[in-house]
């Protein structure tokens, strides 16, 4: 197993932990955190390929990771604002109960 493959295995496992979390939990914030984990796992791949990939001189991997972190920040802000808005209407943070679009 090369180092690159080891990196990729770790990131895949992290992705799956995030996936299991997002699927199994019903607390909205935990689901969001699971999705954040999956995003992080994807980011790890960019860096891993940049570091061990075929052409490390191209900084695309790092740049992509930076953009992806920026987007993740935006996603977290909007997601949690949504959680608060939903909570205000439904008085609950359980996903199953947030099944109406109309408050």
């Amino acid at each position: 197993m090369t180092t690159l493959q080891l990196c990729l295995v770790i990131s895949s496992l992290l992705f799956c932990i995030g996936l299991v979390g997002a699927l199994s939990r019903s607390h909205t914030i935990l689901v969001l955190l699971g999705i954040e984990l999956m995003l992080n796992a994807a980011n790890m791949n960019f860096i891993a390929f940049w570091r061990f990939g075929a052409s490390p001189t191209a900084a695309t991997g790092v740049l992509f990771a930076i953009f992806s972190i920026a987007v993740a920040a935006a996603e977290a802000a909007v997601g949690l604002a949504l959680v608060i808005a939903v909570y205000r209407h439904q008085k609950s943070v359980r996903l199953e109960e947030a099944n109406r679009l109309k408050g």
């Binding site: 990196c7 799956c16 996936l19 570091r51 075929a54 930076i66 953009f67 935006a74 802000a77 608060i84």
Partner: protein
Amino acid sequence: MNLILVLIGGLMLTAAAVAMSLRNIIHSALLLIGSWLGVSFFYLWAGAEFVAFAQVLVYVGAVSMVVLFAVLLTRRDRQDVVVAPETRTRAISALLVGGSVAGLLVSAVLGTPLATGPAETPTLTVKDLGTLLAGPQAAGLLIAGVILTVALLGAVVLAATDSGKEDAS
């Protein structure tokens, strides 16, 4: 070399797995911050200094704060941060899906012959990154800026109290 990687990976994965199975959300969030720190250690190990610090700044400094705030704002009393356990069917099915995806991904990674480059760390200074971001990638930078601004505005609009309507609901 790989030992360090395995250690970092182990820390990160354990923290994430435990976080996802805990019932106390505050503990979950704090453990996840540990996991994010693990990811930034990985970046440091891989030589991507800037990304590592950006990761800490954004995830530990900003996202975690917003998460903790959201947890505190969406609870009625202290006991509320301990959530009820999920149903068994749900947990089992999620584990099955996650396990199968994991198996699929790992076997795919191990089965694919991946081209690897030179062993030494590629040098990428902050200055290089800045030149890249301001030059060839300027469009991306601008778009990211616009996305962040829009997200900020959207978040404010979503979370702001509409005091007028509140009495009706």
